[in-house]
Amino acid sequence: MAWTGKILRIDLTNIACSTEELNRQWAQEYLGQRGLATKYLVEEIDAKVDALSPENKMIMTTAPLTGTMASTGGRYSVVTKSPLTHCIACSNSGGFIGAELKNAGWDMIIFEGRAPTPVYLYIVNDQVELLSADEIWGTSVWSTDAWLHNKHQDPLLRIAAVGRSAEAGCLYAGIVNDLHRAAGRSGVGTVMAAKNLKAVAVRGTLGVGNIHDPARFMQAVTAGKKVLAEGAVTGEGLPTYGTQVLMNVINEVGALPTRNMSEVQFEGVSKVSGEAMHEPRKSDGKPNLTTNAGCFACTIACGRISTIDQGHFSVENKPEYWGNSGGLEYEAAWALGPDIGVDDLDALTYANYLCNEDGYDPISFGSTLAAAMELYQLGAITKKQTGGVELTFGSAEALVWAAEITATGEGFGKDLGLGSKRLCEKYGHPELSMTVKGQEFPAYDPRGIQGMGLAYATSNRGACHLRGYTVSSEVLGIPEQTDPLATENKAALVKAFQDATAVVDSAGLCIFTTFAWSLEDIARQIDAACEGDWSAERLTEVGERIWNMERDFNLRAGMTAADDTLPKRFLKDAAKTGPATGRVCDLDQMLPEYYQLRGWDADGVPTDATRQRLGLA
């Protein structure tokens, strides 16, 4: 139970909708969301398919705990093949649309083919229609949101949409829901736009029932909420500072990648930190941060709701940007700040607004801009390409300009939309791309946090912090402190985090709960909600099964062990400041052990024994 048992299949090519029953056997093996939808995807598409062709499929998916009262139980994921990495893509988002989809009675929506002309999907419970998006094609996510609310005269409609960046082919476009939450990474929005699908608008009033043991579930939910409220990170740090609580912390451990990751500490960090967002501005006495906000059912509420200084050059005479909207979170603040050397909080907030408004991943965008700035420094990119703009590290004006042209894909914005890997190849310096498998790094330097180096190198969706967040252990001491500069035992740590994360992503929950919850806390809630006995041990095995299934897909797609590596900058150039001074990332000391622990051969391929053990044979 807890699943609705219903799948919606949308054949875009033929503008046809059908329903089918959920494969219950797979649900027992892969739980939901990331795991279950990936199982459907790998069974239904050829791994070698062109990600932007009609043959690729895209799945929007909920999980057993989505729509329930379990804290953070409102998540949904988008699973497809990535045009950025050519690997599996699974991007996860909060907000409210995931729960709405579940309330409408659906475990997942499978999109296939490509619509002949732009369409959007309109769902009210079991009433499902594909409608013309001609009037909203070529407009932003925010305009689309307003248009759909107006057209359907329904303020309670929940909307996920792609923006102009996705339509222009930006390879790291995301899908934005509820105006400022996003399935942001790996170009899932690019795939959606390539299918001529502009938006999904959902209203669900059926409710989420089918809880296996409601009384035991509510006991587990209430206990879980208490653990989060009492946790230092989940009860205090995140509500107060959001994920931006990390900015100063990571800088101090010498792992804040700066200026295209050429340095590990940023001199302007105090101006763009979580603390800085609380400081009253000189102009109007208001801080950048208005309030914190929770996604559906979330009792942590790390979300930032912010304003931009109305007098700031980025929004002067643009009153449409003077209101509140989604503010800076750590990864975005880092990519739009330290990684390009900019310390102007209002410029960062404005660029973040644009990422939400037109749906492109701030991490990949900032990292790509950082690479462009280094190329400009070298003279490989000149004012000829930028149309006269000085693309220098530290320039807030350059950030604002770059964000505006990436939103629409005009001019040099087209180049920025390629992502760091393709941009650096185009301008003759592939070594300046800070990517793994084509996806840009997030905000933790693997020289200062060694385990993250292994996590990045082996992540199934390219460089990513959300596939194995060992920062939790190596920096925050959760669940137990490990030395960020040591490589010993990091292979086991990374594997444990990767498998556990796959479980959380398949349950309908937010990974931030794990700053306080153990897998046992999660198992208690799943076990009460779902039929079948769900222990922490069984969940760990589900996580490992999911990880290996994703790995298999990537191998079939053409990835090899040679792709499990890091840019030379992390392997050869030692950190120059901070606690990690003199250190590179010693990936080679961790990777062979990792393969062994995974039950993979020396080429990084799961052995037959491993496949059999996990039921993947």
Binding site: A297, G303, S306, N324, S325
Partner: protein
């Protein structure tokens, strides 16, 4: 002592735990669309406001009902829908100045907050104490205390004694 729901929008994060708790209590299912308390998001202003029935002493819904299907719970002061009597005419939904009585098309009856018989599920579920259930005659107490603390005497007491 009678108690009232006290709502402090400044503390609300918009998580809708209250809506989930309410719908579970009243409908046996997680379904925000059937919740008697609703959280409103004012995006541009950056505010979240939970809103539900204030249990008016002179309750217009109760007076308007033609079949006496809304009764006073003397213990809690709540105005309670009597499902057996409700004919779904919706006159109460029109007479309520605040819109907090609503029709449920699934049952053909109206729904409104009844304070859960004196133990409101929304207040218990709220993680930030934006919804509390307090002495009906002292709903302004906390706000008064905050303002008292801003007077000269209050500020001095805070400096001298560390405040309470």
């Amino acid at each position: 002592m009678q108690r009232s729901l006290l709502i402090d929008p400044g503390k609300c994060t918009g998580c809708v735990q209250c809506e989930l708790a309410c719908s579970l209590e009243k409908e046996g299912i997680f379904n925000p669309s059937k919740s008697r308390i609703r959280v409103f998001t004012f995006h541009y202003e950056g505010r979240f406001v939970p809103y539900t029935c204030t249990q008016c002493s002179e309750a217009w819904c109760m007076q308007a009902c033609p079949v006496d299907a809304i009764a006073l719970d003397a213990g809690t002061g709540a105005k309670v829908i009597l499902d057996a009597a409700c004919v779904g005419c919706k006159v109460c939904t029109i007479s309520c100045p605040f819109g907090t009585v609503n029709y449920n098309s699934d049952t053909g009856k109206v729904i409104k907050c009844d304070l859960c018989g004196g133990d409101p599920a929304c207040a218990k579920a709220c993680p930030t104490a934006a919804i509390t259930y307090v002495d009906a005659d002292q709903t302004g107490y906390d706000k008064m205390r905050v303002w008292a603390g801003k007077t000269d005497a209050g500020a001095m007491a805070s400096t001298q004694y560390g405040g309470t």
